[in-house]
Amino acid sequence: MSNGMSRARASGPSGDSGLHRLADEDLIQLSSRGDAAAFQIIYERHTDAAYSLAYRMCGRRGVAEDVTQEAFLALWRSGTRYDGTRGSVRTWILGIVHNRAIDALRRSLVHDRRRASDEGLEERFEARERTDVEAARREEAASVRAALDQLPAEQCKVIELAYFGGFTHSEIAEMLDAPVGTIKGRMRLGLEKLRDSLGGLQEALS
């Protein structure tokens, strides 16, 4: 363990283990050396966000569970690949979840990709606020949601179809009966506006 261990920035379950006081970046280092206890704390800190993203993308609980499990096991097996200069551990984990969910969508494990859910919408809002950090993350979520809603509808739609739906630009172009070039333009413009409206939120997220 390096002397440069930083203090924890992310929240976690309370516990008497010194590991709980470590930051994600330090826990990832330990996990990459086979420390299952360190990995478990990473899991506990980020599993709800990971599952929420997987469920939002896949729309079915069983598939979302598989995607989340696959993502965390990939994390366990590839912890050495984390590069702190390219974003937070949380961003990295959610990137893995996103890739896994897209793979699941494109493998057609989810037959109805148009966000149908077999469990009802209300379940998506069942999470409870248990800590201040979780409450803060809900506020962040609301901010991002509001920023998305401020986008022109056609830009918001292509971003959501691409990111949460896992569709390629050509699939979206066909779906919306628009040229591929137009879809690409909407994606870039929408992301630029989203970045501008989010402002300093990224620092808080990371």
């Binding site: 506990e44 499990q69 979520a141 691409a162 333009g185 909407r186 413009l189 992301l191």
Partner: protein, 245 residues
Amino acid sequence: MSSHSFTRAHAETAEALGAYALGALPDDEAERVQAHLRECDRCQGDLAALRLAVDALPSAAPPVDAPAELEPRVMSIVRAEAELLQAAGEKADRPSESRRRGLGALLSRPAFAAAAAGGLAVAAIVGFLVGGGVDTGGSVRTVQAHVTSVAGVVPGTTAALRVKDHRATLMVRDMPEPPAQRVYEVWVKHGRAAPVPAGTTFVVRSGDIPIAHSVNPGDQVLVTAEPKGGSLTPTSSPMIVARPA
């Protein structure tokens, strides 16, 4: 690259960069974008700016609690692999995880990737015990092992362990093909001791495999992918872990 071709690649990348950041490009187009990014600082900067927005998108997903049963399921696999890694020491290697997407998904599946590369075996499947034993009469005891496809390779793979008088049979169904130049090898792990070769290797995808080594209560039966002829210590993470009741 000529100035003209650079300019053309730059224009194509600039148009596609939003889709690239969102993961919405097909593989061939994404590869062209990546090639241009390697030589264009301006596009790298633009991409980094777009990623600030993309990285915030997961927060827009309505929060949902992960199922409580997921943690023990994941951790049972992680702890089993941690024990094996510890027992195997420096010789152990972790499975690689390719993240290629889209049409490349097939090649990204570990078994196929390892076969294509001729590289180290990759754990495509991790099994774990989820159910209790099922007495089938006499001294025979069968343990059902639920097998999960980590990379979505063969979702239908199943495994079970039948033990009678310390002799065990591993019953596998629909295993993926072993990677090129590899076989599946069975290990028996006594408590916290290093796993020992069970003297059994196999390549079949479905079948009942008698385990030459005795198996006692408390032992774990593991399966890893190893070079032909087998290994003296595991060189990859376990693909199946079963613990007799």
